[in-house]
């Protein structure tokens, strides 16, 4: 673990009255990378982001954001973060230029020229009240409020939410621009796996409050393998810890592994005494769905 982690969560648990928020979550995000949290609704993604932002207190465990406790050093930390919430509502009676003045008073490093250059590129009308803009345009204003001051950390909750494909692409381009400038680390949550694949270097897969897999995007992609197997029951197939999911496929069993394909075959043939009929690499979305459906 690097001591310079931009985000470090150690054994963090936060329970709500309504149920689990996050349980025993560890997360380390290195500078300059983009880490994506994926998982179904209620997996704990937003809770994790809110803990990182210092908007929630952990019941136990420790949260360090930019090396500090984000609740104790709330102002210093927040000045260096950009945040776009999933449900962020913008004041409809204000214009982007009013928002820019507001952001300018919030962030010491706000750069008005840069804000106007971005707005120009995005063709955002600075003088129109936001009530008369599209949802996508309002989100762009929110994004500018999060990136123009060159934050050390950019936190995005469901950045694809409610955007059409063109707006989504523009939004991604802005994030890539920021990553390309260097100096900014990104933590995002998303249901949109295409977007995750384009943006993330690191993917943490959450389910029911736990991080069940946390790997580089390439490792996650290359370690996800599915074998179609004969001579093994589904219950047997679910035994080995490398098996993330197993489901029936006629009289065969489809086993989803997270491991080296050669190791996966070895487990089936040597440990379980089965026979491999077919092997395939899994696309991220297939892997995701398989793991959720075949959850042990």
């Amino acid at each position: 673990m690097s001591t310079e982690s931009v985000i470090r969560l150690q054994d963090v648990t936060r329970i709500f009255d309504k149920g689990i928020g996050v349980m025993h979550v560890d997360l380390d995000v290195e500078p300059g990378t983009c880490c994506a949290l994926i998982g179904p609704n209620g997996a704990g993604k937003t809770t994790t982001l809110r803990l990182v932002m210092g908007m929630l207190r952990p019941d136990s465990g420790s949260v360090l954001t930019l090396g500090e406790d984000p609740r104790e050093h709330a102002i210093e930390v927040k000045e260096q973060i950009g945040y776009v919430a999933e449900d962020m509502t913008m004041p409809l009676g204000l214009r982007p230029c009013d928002m820019f003045s507001f952001f300018g008073s919030l962030y010491p490093s706000w750069d008005q020229e840069r804000a106007e250059a971005f707005a120009d590129e995005l063709e955002l009308p600075l003088d129109r009240v936001m009530g008369r803009m599209s949802h996508g345009q309002r989100r762009q204003v929110a994004l500018l409020g999060a990136i123009v001051h060159r934050p050390r950390l950019l936190v995005l909750d469901e950045p694809a939410g409610g955007l059409d494909p063109l707006m989504r692409r523009t939004f991604m381009e802005s994030v890539i621009e920021i990553l390309g400038e260097g100096g900014t680390t990104v933590l995002l949550s998303s249901h949109h796996l295409d977007q995750v694949e384009r943006l993330a270097d690191r993917i943490a897969f959450m389910r029911r409050g736990h991080v069940i897999l946390d790997r580089s995007a390439a490792e996650l992609r290359e370690g996800a393998v599915q074998l179609l197997v004969e001579g093994v029951t589904r219950e047997q197939a679910r035994g080995p810890e490398e098996v993330l999911a197993a489901r029936k496929a006629g009289d065969r069993v489809a086993m989803t592994f997270f491991t080296d394909p050669a190791r996966a075959r070895q487990i089936v043939e040597d440990d379980l005494g089965g026979r491999v009929v077919q092997e395939r690499a899994l696309a991220l979305e297939d892997f995701f769905v398989d793991v959720l459906r075949g959850a042990r």
């Binding site: 300059g32 990378t33 983009c34 692409r169 991604m172 381009e173 890539i176 621009e177 990553l179 390309g180 796996l193 295409d194 977007q195 694949e197 384009r198 943006l199 993330a200 270097d201 995007a217 390439a218 992609r221 290359e222 395939r280 690499a281 899994l282 696309a283 991220l284 979305e285």
Partner: protein, 133 residues
């Protein structure tokens, strides 16, 4: 710098994105779209171009460098390396392997050499008419 070749990635593919970039750069070198000494776009420019994280491009370039296809000179950029006799040979071998697979397929369908050759000529002509070379 604008890339000298077209490249696009498909998220959702079984091949990770950095691998897709590696394969497309290799294909561009093998087919002569990129030749010895050509400069590749910077991580940042290619990232912007194909809309992926800059570190993904870096990873792809690192693999290409390990495989001897490109050379990164500090401060100047990444360049296609050597006339790529290796690359050309590999490409030839790959083509042979694919043709062999087609022959096996044809045999399995009980097609003779003449019939296969006839179909090849026909499809070649078709491809040419569609604007290929």
């Amino acid at each position: 710098m604008v890339s000298k070749f077209l490249i696009s990635v498909a998220p959702g593919d079984a091949l990770p994105i950095y691998r897709q970039i590696v394969e497309q750069v290799k294909a561009a070198i093998a087919s002569g779209v990129l030749s010895d000494g050509d400069q590749l776009p910077s991580h940042r420019d290619l990232a912007r171009d194909v809309v992926v994280a800059p570190l993904t491009v870096k990873r792809a370039y690192d693999v290409l460098e390990q495989e001897g296809m490109v050379l990164t000179r500090r401060g100047t950029g990444t360049f296609v390396q050597a006339p790529g006799t290796d690359a050309r040979e590999n490409a030839d071998e790959e083509l042979d392997a694919r043709i062999r697979a087609v022959i096996r397929h044809a045999r399995a369908l009980d097609l003779g050499e003449r019939e296969l050759a006839r179909r090849l000529r026909e499809l070649w002509r078709e491809a040419k008419e569609r604007g290929g070379r």
